[in-house]
């Protein structure tokens, strides 16, 4: 009988090589998929923990914001307390300021009148204004001449000298 089903005379190795090659592509693909999968897990885990971390930070910041707002309110409260008229009055009294009452309150008109009447004190006196007329010639005041032909100033200085001399003699 003729064996119809007999395989052709081909080497087994050749057949094996053709039919069972190492599926590098599939391996690679599997590896990539695996890496993606594992990577995905890592990313997911990382993002999960990051979200928790961000959540914690977020709530901390929120708490800080609330605390700061509370602090702001407290500061406003302190400001209001410090600026209350009663506190200002107390502080002004400490500084020696007097309260404005009907007795020391003056109208514009009366103020102006008082200013006119009131002489300026030394403290408040303004500096002397600059001389507008410049001296071109030395001028001395005219001296009155006495009966004996000596001026009054000369006579007084001579008298002083005489008195001083007499006092020194007496001391000696």
């Amino acid at each position: 009988m003729k064996k119809r089903n007999l395989p052709k005379k081909e080497s087994r190795e050749k057949i094996r090589r053709e039919k069972d090659p190492i599926p590098w592509r599939y391996c690679l693909l599997t590896l990539i998929c695996g890496v993606f999968l594992v990577g995905g897990f890592f990313v997911a885990a990382r993002s999960h923990f990051a979200s928790i971390d961000f959540g914690i930070k977020n709530s901390t910041l929120k708490k800080q914001l609330e605390d700061l707002e509370a602090e702001k309110r407290r500061l406003i409260w302190h400001k209001e307390t410090a600026l209350s008229p009663a506190e200002i009055k107390r502080a002004a009294k400490k500084l020696g300021l007097t309260e404005m009452t009907a007795n020391n309150f003056q109208t514009f008109g009366s103020k102006i009148e008082e200013k006119k009447e009131k002489p300026l004190t030394v403290k408040n006196a303004p500096e002397k204004p600059k001389q507008l007329v410049e001296k071109t010639v030395d001028v001395k005041p005219v001296e009155k001449i006495g009966k004996n032909g000596v001026s009054k100033t000369e006579a007084t200085t001579a008298k002083k000298e005489v008195r001083e001399k007499s006092s020194t003699k007496a001391a000696k």
Partner: protein
């Protein structure tokens, strides 16, 4: 058999492998199926239970109450605000050694260890998890406690790091200005619910919403996720029309005045007549809303809107206003009061001031009862009633404050024969200080009544949600208002209100002194008064209307001109420059003595006592005593009997009535000319000319006791 066995042994290995593989697959399918079935059961059937269980482990439900809204004054100064505070509480289940913990806590809190230990032990036995140790502490104290109770070995996410102790955030209402405008602002109680004043009336706006939410916590107790069930809205803030500075000055002046007059209480209102804004509303005695627990409930009442009283002579403005507006009387005309009394429905009303023919200006200035009664009678009941209602009496003003009084003003159907006469001089009628102020503000605002209000606007997060628009009603004509202002000016210049003359500004107003009704006696008590002064400044174009009411002044001076007018002056002189009102007068203020004022109005009768002088503004007593008792029964306590006033001794007067009237008219005509003169130099000329003309008429130049010139 052997064949069969052989067959068995020679089983196809592929088949075997396949069978085994399928068995393994089946096992895995069953296993995964089982897991799937279990998962389905857990995820679907047990979903709610398990979810709640999981959430309970990590999730906290939160319930936070937002801060209550702030109350500001007109210049954005916070009058009432809420602050965050913390309450220290213990969770007894977390504390093992109670006595040791109590000793340590007590040392920090400066309390008795036995008390704290008792609290914690009580909580432990009753399975309480919230035992308050120190309520509502401020931030500084909280930080000190945190530092003191620091246990570094303890792993705990929240402060204080002490086993079993926690902080609970709460809020505390605070009033930085303490007693300032206490009755207006009111206070909120321990549950943060408004209990008086604006805090009560604006509860809906000010109340902080309760926000429900949740927080997910990790094993260390740190919050990593949170959410709120409702959208968070910032609280609404209320902005008032009052100015803290004006309010303070008003309160100071009122407090001093009340102490000086030895009065039971006092109230003052400052109002802008053009806008209807209340710039200040003061009551004395007052309270500190920060410590409201320490005060009696009567201190919380805002008497300016809640209490009613018989206004007395200040009500004569309404009497004259109704008659002038209807053309019943000519304001430039004269009225005959020479008899010195008037009888109405069998009741005799005496008047010490009215003993001559005088102008309406003068009659009003000296507060003549006869002139006012005659004026009211000539107008009739309906006219009087209609105008009084138009001015706002007998009905609430509509201010945004709780418990506002309507006042008592009966309809003409229930009036008695002499009711119109009594009402025309401010009796048989009860009004609140705010109603009276509003009526005077109507005249100050050229006859236009502007509804008074105390809330300027309501804000949320800085944005204006609503602002108050006041209703305006023309009550009397501008001409009538001008006449009335002139009459009010005369009261201050030469009448009962001389003490209301201002330094640098012109002023106008009216004094009032009324006997108080005694509920026990069922009639008025001649020993108890309500003295008032309601005025405006500057006189021609008023920027403010100020009302001062004193309840039961007990010192020597008791009438409105002596007790309330100086307070008006004190307030007006301080606030007008602050309101940038330009001075319209240049007067050096003289201090009047008590004797000087009546003598300027009318020379004091000889032998008249201080009491008799004070009674000058009171209505006359009914001479028929039997009828009086019957009347008091009829009115059931409302109607007030009058005490008889002595008629003045005409011999003691410096000038005769006719001569005085003639001089006053001349004086008045010149004053009017000077006032109306547009040119200052002309006015100044008139001022200089006036003393000369008076001397020519035989009158002395008006001078004070110090010999200084009075305002001309």
């Amino acid at each position: 058999m052997s064949k069969r066995a052989k067959k068995k042994t020679t089983k196809n290995p592929m088949q075997t492998a396949f069978t085994r593989f399928m068995l393994i697959v089946a096992f895995f399918v069953l296993w995964i199926g089982g897991i799937g079935a279990r998962l389905v059961y857990l995820q679907i059937n047990q979903h709610e239970v398990l979810r709640d269980k999981a959430l309970n482990q990590r999730r906290d439900k939160t319930k936070e109450k937002q801060l209550r809204g702030t109350i500001y004054d007109r210049s954005d100064r916070a009058l009432a605000m809420s602050l965050k505070v913390k309450t220290l509480y213990a969770d007894p289940s977390e504390i093992e050694d109670v006595d040791a913990a109590a000793t340590e806590i007590a040392k920090i809190l400066k309390a008795k260890p036995s008390e704290i230990a008792a609290k914690i032990k009580d909580g432990k036995t009753n399975n309480k998890r919230f035992v308050v140790l120190a309520p509502k502490l401020d931030e500084e104290t909280v930080q000190k406690i945190n530092e003191s109770l620091e246990n570094k070995d303890l792993k705990k996410s929240d402060l204080p790091r002490f086993a079993g102790l926690h902080w609970k955030e709460e809020q505390k209402r605070s009033y930085p200005y303490n007693t300032l405008a206490a009755q207006v602002i009111g206070f909120s109680n321990a549950e943060d619910v408004g209990s008086a004043g604006i805090e009560q009336s604006q509860e809906q706006s000010l109340r902080g919403a309760v926000i429900k939410g949740w927080q997910d916590r990790d094993r260390l107790g740190r919050v990593y996720d949170e959410s709120e069930e409702e959208q968070r809205e910032p609280p609404k803030d209320v902005v008032l029309t009052i100015s803290h500075s004006i309010q303070y000055k008003t309160e100071q002046a009122l407090a001093e005045g009340v102490k000086k007059a030895n009065a039971k209480s006092g109230m003052a209102i400052v109002m802008n007549p053009q806008t209807g804004e209340i710039l200040a509303m003061a009551n004395y005695p007052t309270f500190d809303p920060n410590r409201y627990n320490e005060f009696a409930a009567e201190f919380f009442t805002n008497r300016a809107v809640h209490d009613v009283y018989s206004p007395g002579s200040v009500f004569k403005l309404i009497t004259y206003g109704s008659a002038i507006n209807e053309g019943i009387i000519n304001p430039n005309g004269e009225i005959d009061t020479t008899r010195g009394f008037i009888e109405v429905a069998g009741r005799r009303f005496n008047d010490p001031h009215a003993t001559k023919v005088m102008g309406y200006d003068e009659a009003f200035a000296v507060s003549s009862n006869v002139a006012a009664i005659k004026t009211a009678l000539s107008g009739g009941r309906e006219n009087f009633y209609t105008y009084a209602r138009k001015f706002g009496f007998g009905q609430p003003v509509g201010i945004e404050l709780p418990a506002e009084a309507n006042g008592i003003f009966r309809s003409p159907k229930s009036w008695y024969g002499d009711s119109l006469a009594s009402m025309s001089i401010g009796y048989e009628i009860s009004v609140s200080a705010l109603q009276m102020t509003t009526a005077y503000a109507t005249i100050a605002n050229n006859g236009v009544r502007v509804q008074p209000h105390i809330i300027k606007e309501i804000r949320q997060d800085g944005k204006v949600l609503s602002s108050t628009e006041a209703q305006k009603v023309q009550v009397v004509t501008a001409d009538t208002a001008r006449y009335l202002k002139r009459m009010l000016r005369e009261v201050v210049v030469k009448g009962t209100g001389k003490r209301a003359q201002l330094n640098g500004y012109t002023s106008a107003g009216k004094t009032g002194t009324a006997w108080k009704y005694n509920a026990k006696l069922k009639r008025v008590d001649s020993g108890k008064y309500v003295s008032s002064f309601i005025g405006m400044a500057p006189a021609d174009n008023p920027s403010v209307v100020i009302a001062v009411v004193m309840d039961e002044p007990k010192g020597g001076a008791r009438d409105g001109g002596q007790v309330a007018a100086p307070i008006f002056r004190e307030i007006a002189e301080q606030i007008l420059p602050e309101l940038n009102v330009a001075p319209d007068a240049n007067i050096r203020q003289d201090s009047f003595t008590a004797e000087e004022i009546p003598s300027e109005i009318e020379p004091a009768p000889t032998g008249k006592t201080e009491d008799a002088k004070n009674e000058s503004e009171k209505p006359a007593k009914n001479e028929k005593s039997d009828k009086k008792s019957a009347d008091s029964e009829k009115t059931k306590g409302l109607k007030e009997t009058k005490k008889e006033n002595k008629t003045p001794d005409k011999k003691g007067t410096k000038k005769t009535g006719a001569q005085a009237a003639r001089l006053q008219r001349a004086f008045e005509a010149l004053r009017e000319q000077a006032r109306n003169a547009a040119d200052y130099s002309k006015a100044d000329f008139m001022r200089r000319r006036l003393p000369f003309l008076l001397r020519a008429n035989g009158a002395s130049e008006p001078r004070s006791s110090q010999g200084k010139k009075l305002e001309t």
